[in-house]
């Protein structure tokens, strides 16, 4: 293998490129990225960047010296527009072609939008800088969607003195992900600060003066932020013969076709640890899956390793840090394992079948969380681990 193309120059793509070099691959690496900036970090966009605590120079994922040491054929500011599997070529928006022996797809996701003009989304550095320009004390901000992204942005806007309304279609924010009880608790944190949180409300469009609801009512706002989830960037793969279905579909090795792998937010792969196909939009997964895809691409036949991580996610809201491990979706039961929801210091566990499938913690020391992560990683049985109050494995 002498030519590897990595498409998408963010967390997952960079991690893949670095891993190729760490594993001793010394052929060409073409790293293609649609954004003009060198790889930068997204989680701070809805936190320190929006709050104007950090400027863009703090976001670089690597120094220019570290990037240069990777000896990349770096193509920034240009998008991949097509893929020819048979001739093994990636077509770029500037008309050029990148021939490859191995390909890693890491094109991430983009925000879903609503009909109408003028609303903000929050995915790129430009998005964050544009929104932060507009967040002034007394400004009325409507946030559509009370997921983690909307909640973080609402918290920062509140801190900056904006009047914040959050509109959420579900009866309880995040209930499908973290369960109704935890979802209610997380929502209450915002209500306590004076955020106007309205649940069971569907927004149909963005208007000149704010947003319109399903019933026809209009809610006025100076600024509107739409945070209603995202769509995988797979359009450039259309007609290539690869299977796309809410992400690029891969097997347990993150392989989509011979010598074609995917990593990060765009990848839907089979995670054997949970026996489920999943697509994970978490920062640590992007780095870990980039590593796994790169290693498997270079590995000899029979030496590839299934990618079987415990997903991990964190979110910062006000002074509260939320950390979640595992695969919470579709859980059968939620139980408080340690601490107390009302005090906002707790670990809750998620049961799927008879296994500990997830844990979510607020305000707990790392050791308290680590042993539950271990229980998830080892597929510990719920009835043995939780009823006795102690996880099967101590770390």
């Amino acid at each position: 293998m002498r030519r590897i193309a990595v498409v998408g120059a963010s967390a997952a793509g960079l991690s893949a490129a670095e891993t190729l070099r760490r594993e001793g691959y010394d052929g060409t690496i073409t790293l293609v990225g649609e954004e003009p900036e060198p790889p930068y970090d997204r989680p701070p966009l809805s936190k320190q960047v929006l709050a104007a605590e950090w400027e863009r120079d703090r976001l670089a994922l690597r120094t220019s010296a570290d990037l240069a040491a990777l000896d990349l054929d770096l193509r920034l500011g240009v998008a991949a527009t097509g893929l020819e599997l048979v001739s093994r070529t990636v077509e770029l928006g500037d008309g050029s072609e990148v021939p490859y022996d191995g390909l890693i797809v890491a094109t991430g996701v983009r925000p879903r939008r609503l009909p109408g003009e003028g609303a903000h989304v929050l995915r790129t550095l430009d998005d964050a800088l544009t929104l932060r320009e507009r967040l002034r004390p007394g400004q009325r901000l409507v946030v559509v969607g009370a997921g983690f992204l909307g909640a973080e942005a609402a918290a920062v806007a509140w801190r900056l003195g904006a009047e914040v309304t959050v509109l959420e279609p579900a009866a309880v924010p995040l209930a499908h992900a973290v369960g109704a009880e935890v979802g209610r608790m997380l929502a209450q944190v915002h209500v306590d600060r004076g955020i106007d949180l309205r649940c069971g409300v569907t927004v149909t469009e963005v208007t000149e003066d704010g947003v319109r609801l399903a019933g026809g009512e209009e809610i006025e706002a100076h600024e509107v932020l739409v945070a209603i989830g995202s769509l995988p960037n797979t359009e450039w793969l259309e007609g290539s013969g690869l299977t796309v279905g809410d992400g690029l579909v891969c097997d347990q090795y993150c392989e989509a076709a011979k010598n074609v792998y995917a990593a990060g937010d765009v990848a839907r792969w089979y995670n054997p640890l949970f026996g489920a196909s999943m697509r994970i939009e978490h920062r640590t997964n992007a780095a870990e899956q980039g590593m796994a895809a790169a290693r498997n691409l270079l590995a000899a036949e029979g030496a590839r390793k299934p990618f079987a991580p415990v997903p991990y996610f964190w979110s910062d809201q006000y002074d509260m840090k939320i950390q979640a491990y595992g695969f919470l979706r579709g859980h059968d039961e939620v139980a408080v394992l340690e601490g107390d929801l009302a005090q906002r210091r707790f670990v809750v566990g998620y049961r799927t079948g008879d296994r500990v499938s997830g844990a979510l913690a607020v305000g707990m020391p790392p050791k308290a969380i680590r042993r539950w992560r271990q229980a998830i990683a080892t597929g510990a049985a719920w009835h043995e681990t939780v009823r006795t109050g102690a996880p099967a494995a101590e770390v």
Partner: protein, 64 residues
């Protein structure tokens, strides 16, 4: 080699501790702490792994 940690970037994920237990620990808030700055050759691979998996780009390896 030497490890550098920018603690104010750390998001308390604990990934570095999983990758290199004898080089990193976390305080009670989860913020990473360096147990040693100088890295032996036998620890190099683990620390490179930590650099790669840190979700905050808070860890760097530099020539001592």
């Amino acid at each position: 080699m030497k490890v550098e940690l920018e603690a104010d970037k750390c998001v308390a994920s604990g990934q570095c501790v999983v990758a290199a237990m004898d080089v990193f620990d976390q305080d009670d808030d989860g913020i990473a702490i360096l147990l040693t700055e100088q890295i032996g050759d036998d620890q190099l691979d683990d620390v490179k792994e930590a650099v790669a998996v840190c979700p905050a780009a808070a860890i760097r390896l530099v020539q001592a």
